[in-house]
């Protein structure tokens, strides 16, 4: 079970205009494996996430999740099939409170008309609300539940995004630079929190430039450069890879 | 109280203030004259005014306010057809007479017992106009028709009144063009008219559109005579049409230079209007409003009304009955009666613009 890839990209290509951003990219993520996607700026990491979550269609290749081919599934339905994500630039719903933002995350699991027409913003006792509050509490965000998201500190907003993505019930969580903008202490907290989430059975894939975090959190690393995979392996392995040092890490980190 | 109160719904703001606002001067003149002559049944007459801003919903508020809160015996107004349409049903429900001075759309008052209009029948008036053109041997062998399609009365003029009467007079209709009330550019219509010149151009529209049309006709070199219904009878039309307006001919229910009474009225009106900074020439609607006050006063006198709030409903009904029965009343506009629909039957004056002045071509007393 653990060996079976939960997410697999097979010869995926994507170009914008004339620009080939992803070139024949293939890699697998095994179930439960904490994976990092790293690479220089503009390598195509966010684009990979966008392709997996269906923001753009691929030009060629196949993406499958849990053994299902999702290449042509509309983006709206992919979360139900198991992929959820956060965004590099924070994308919370500005006119909703923290709790309400998190409630939006549950949408993929809401199916009945009764649930859609249940006055969820009027009461606080429904299981949806309890669940959302619980997730907020675990992230240490309960105190902000009723605040508007717009003016909260950056780090808090990042955590809300993670909480929201988590509530979709997806098996795979794609996090785009979750540690960006966090100080070392906060990064550590985040790492702890993500470990908990991973332990509860969610597969986490992060795009991250903070190598400290990648080293501490990830078991497996895929390195992209110009849309192609240039290395993969454990953090220790890729850190030593001269191509990676040359293209990504620079001399002083090595 | 020793007062008898008449309600008055008018437009002091909104798109046609210029026509409606001066009505109040005329109405007040009538009230002052009546009171100077001892009032009605020994009581003074007073106007209670409500501004509808020309909006139908507000006209309804006006009728409700005046009928229920101000206990008026009858209501003058509202001005426009759109307002009258919604005001009449509510007045009927509240059992109070409402008499409009300008809403000339056909059969507006017909369904109601309490609705009256001191306006005239355009078909009858235009027939008189054609008769007088013939009498004066003014060429009228062929004609073109131009009308606004999105205004009831204009459309009726263009599609029913003009064709029917031209048919009767044997006038050949060579072209029909249409426009919208909001139109400002008449060049395409006029280009069509110019390609088939006619003796007459009959226009069904409010004054503004007629002015725009005639200006464009002359720009493109069309020399035909503009004829119209009373819808365009604004007193300052000669001035507003300028040179282009020469020969424009139309029927009206009021002609200021008709006789001593109209001249006197015009003079007093002019004086009062100047004091208020308004247009000094009385329009036919000013005269019509003046006469409405006289009708009401007459009916109130006949019905021996007391203004006692307890007898309000009966007295309102009595006023209605006396108005409905009114025949050949000597009004400012001439001798006036009411037909069974509640519409006034009144004399017609055919006037023509000549060198920037109104000129009476002929008068046609009421045919019963």
């Amino acid at each position: 079970m653990a060996d079976q890839p939960i997410l697999s990209l097979d010869c995926v290509s994507k170009s914008f205009g004339g620009l080939n951003v992803i070139k024949n990219l293939s890699f697998d993520v095994r179930c439960g494996q904490r994976t990092a996607l790293i690479g220089p700026n503009g390598a195509g990491k966010s684009t990979v996430f966008n392709l997996i979550s269906g923001v753009f269609p691929v030009n060629s290749g196949r993406i499958s999740v849990n053994g299902n081919d999702i290449t042509n599934v509309p983006s709206r339905k992919r979360m139900k099939l198991g992929v959820s994500r956060s965004f590099q630039n924070i994308r919370l719903v500005q006119h909703l409170s923290v709790l309400e933002n998190v409630l939006v995350g549950q949408t993929p699991r809401v199916t009945s008309l009764g649930d859609i027409l249940y006055p969820i913003r009027m009461t606080s006792g429904s299981h949806w609300q309890c669940e959302a509050m619980e997730v907020l509490e675990r992230a240490g965000l309960a105190a902000f539940a009723r605040d508007h998201v717009g003016n909260l500190p950056y780090g808090v907003q990042k955590q809300i995004e993670i909480a929201r993505a988590l509530l979709g019930g997806a098996d795979i969580l794609l996090l785009d630079e979750p540690a960006a903008g966090l100080n070392p202490q906060e990064t550590e907290d985040l790492s702890t929190r993500l470990h908990q989430i991973a332990d509860s059975g969610t597969t986490i894939v992060v795009v991250e430039h903070d190598m400290q975090f990648v080293g501490a959190f990830c078991e497996y690393v895929v390195v992209l450069n110009f849309g192609e995979m240039i290395a993969e392996g454990t953090p220790q392995e890729v850190r030593r890879d001269p191509h990676v040092i040359e293209a990504y890490l620079g001399s002083d980190v090595a | 109280d020793d007062e008898l109160v008449l309600g008055y719904v008018t437009a002091k703001t909104g798109p046609f203030v210029s026509l409606a606002k001066t009505n109040e001067i005329a109405a007040q003149m009538a009230v002052d004259e009546i009171n100077a002559n001892g009032g009605i049944n020994g009581k003074k007459l007073r106007l209670e005014t409500f501004d509808s801003a020309g909006k139908p919903e507000q006209a309804v508020v006006g009728v409700r306010t005046l009928a229920k809160d101000k206990n008026v015996l009858g209501i003058i107004g509202p001005f426009s057809s759109s307002e009258a349409r919604v005001a009449f049903p509510i007045a009927e429900r509240l059992k109070v007479v409402t008499m409009s001075m300008a809403s000339s759309a056909p059969r507006l008052a017909e369904p109601f017992k309490y609705a009256f209009r001191n306006t005239s029948n355009e078909g009858y008036m235009f027939a008189q106009l054609m008769k007088i053109l013939a009498e004066e041997s003014i060429p009228s062998n062929n004609a073109a028709i131009a009308y606004a399609t999105d205004d009831t009365i204009s459309k009726v003029m263009g599609t029913a009144v003009f064709p029917a009467i031209f048919e009767k007079t044997g006038t050949d209709v060579k072209a029909v063009v249409t426009f919208k009330l909001s139109a400002f550019d008449f060049s395409p219509q006029v280009s069509q008219l110019v390609s088939k010149p006619t003796d007459l151009v009959a226009v069904g529209a409010p004054p503004e559109q007629a002015i725009k049309l005639v200006t464009e006709l002359r720009r493109q070199g069309h020399e035909g005579r503009l004829v119209a219904g009373s819808t365009i009878a604004a007193p300052d039309l000669p001035e507003r049409m300028g040179k282009a307006g020469n020969n424009t001919t139309l029927p009206t229910t009021f002609f200021a230079n008709l006789n001593d009474r109209t001249k006197a009225f015009s003079e007093v009106f002019g004086r009062r209007a100047r004091a208020e900074g308004e247009r000094t020439l009385p329009a036919q609607f000013d005269a019509a409003t003046y006469d409405i006050v006289l009708f009401f006063a007459h009916a109130m006198e006949q019905a021996n009304v007391t203004g006692d709030p307890g007898k309000l409903e009966d007295e309102r009904a009595a006023i209605r009955d006396h108005l409905a029965a009114m025949r050949n009343f000597p009004a400012l506009e001439g001798e006036i009666s009411f037909d069974p629909d509640g519409d006034a039957l009144k004399p017609v004056y055919i006037v023509e613009i000549r060198d920037g002045e109104w000129n009476l071509l002929g008068a046609q007393p009421l045919e019963q």
Partner: protein, 286 residues
């Protein structure tokens, strides 16, 4: 009830319904400048149904609302291809087309207008307005309302979270149109006469103004806006011909400090926070 109060109340109640007709599309980010057209559809359908087939007025009104709703769903498909001001202009154009349709439809009187026989009084309208308000307030508190805000703020993210953005936008548009039709039908039955001239772009714009002035972020905004727009000119009645000029100045002056409208969600949440905040603050910083 005094005749004046009754008269103004009717206008206010109808304006509130119209305000919610504009509120729903705005909640999904669409400025519907063709709302007058839907008001007209409702008015004509209901008037025709009750005049010609003797359908009871309330049923006719609700039915007319559904007709407007259905029509809007259909037209939403092409209209929602456009965005922002283009969408506003597309709805405006649609409204103009509808108005000229009414003008040319001789079976309901064309330019001459159409009398409506059965009557609905102020009480009936009050009940209907309350229903529209409660439906709106209720929907706003559900996931439907929640998702609508999400769609308004960020279509792309809403889509990724499984919200059918197109469906929500179309529903918002149609729901608004349904309310517009319902309100239009009530108008016809109360004022006993309808004419195409009523359903002009100026009418649409004035309704949009109520809602924007009241604020589009909360359910009470449109209510406040409609009340403001209906009552302020009444308050200014004494100023005679200056009335609308003063009114305009009031609008301009109000929008300066409150460009998002009189009532905003920040304000409401600040109010709520004010009531419960200190406990929260302590928790957070403690």
């Amino acid at each position: 009830m005094s005749g004046y109060v009754e008269g103004i109340l009717v206008i206010l109640l109808l304006n509130v319904i119209f305000a919610y007709a504009v509120y729903w599309p705005l909640a999904a980010g669409q400025l519907n400048l063709g709302v007058a057209g839907f008001v007209g559809i409702g008015a004509y359908v209901s008037a025709y149904a009750s005049n010609e087939f003797g359908i009871p007025p309330y049923i006719a009104c609700v039915g007319a609302g559904f007709v407007a709703f259905a029509l809007a769903l259909v037209i939403a498909v092409p209209v929602l291809r456009t965005k922002g001001i283009y969408l506003a202009l597309a709805t405006f154009a649609f409204g103009q087309v509808l108005q000229s349709l009414f003008l040319n439809l001789e079976i309901v009187g064309g330019a001459a207008g159409y009398p409506v026989i059965s009557y609905i009084g102020v009480g009936g309208i009050a009940v209907c307005t309350a229903a529209v308000f409660l439906i709106t307030a209720f929907l706003d508190r559900t996931r439907f309302g929640l998702n609508m805000v999400a769609v308004h703020d960020d279509e792309a993210v809403s889509d990724l979270f499984g919200i059918n953005v197109r469906a929500y936008q179309a529903l918002a548009f149609a729901l608004g149109a349904g309310f517009a039709g319902f309100g239009g039908a009530l108008y016809g039955h109360h004022f006993s006469y309808i004419e195409p001239q009523n359903y002009s772009i100026l009418f649409s714009i004035s309704i949009v103004l109520f809602v924007l002035l009241g604020g589009t972020q909360t359910v009470v905004g449109p209510l406040v806006g409609a009340a403001f727009f209906t009552l302020l000119p009444e308050v200014l009645r004494g100023s005679e011909e200056w009335r609308y000029a003063i009114f305009a100045v009031c609008i301009i002056v109000i929008m300066i400090p409150r460009p998002q409208g009189l009532i905003t969600s920040d304000q409401l949440s600040a109010l709520r926070q004010f009531l419960v905040r200190d406990r929260l603050r302590e928790e957070r910083h403690g």
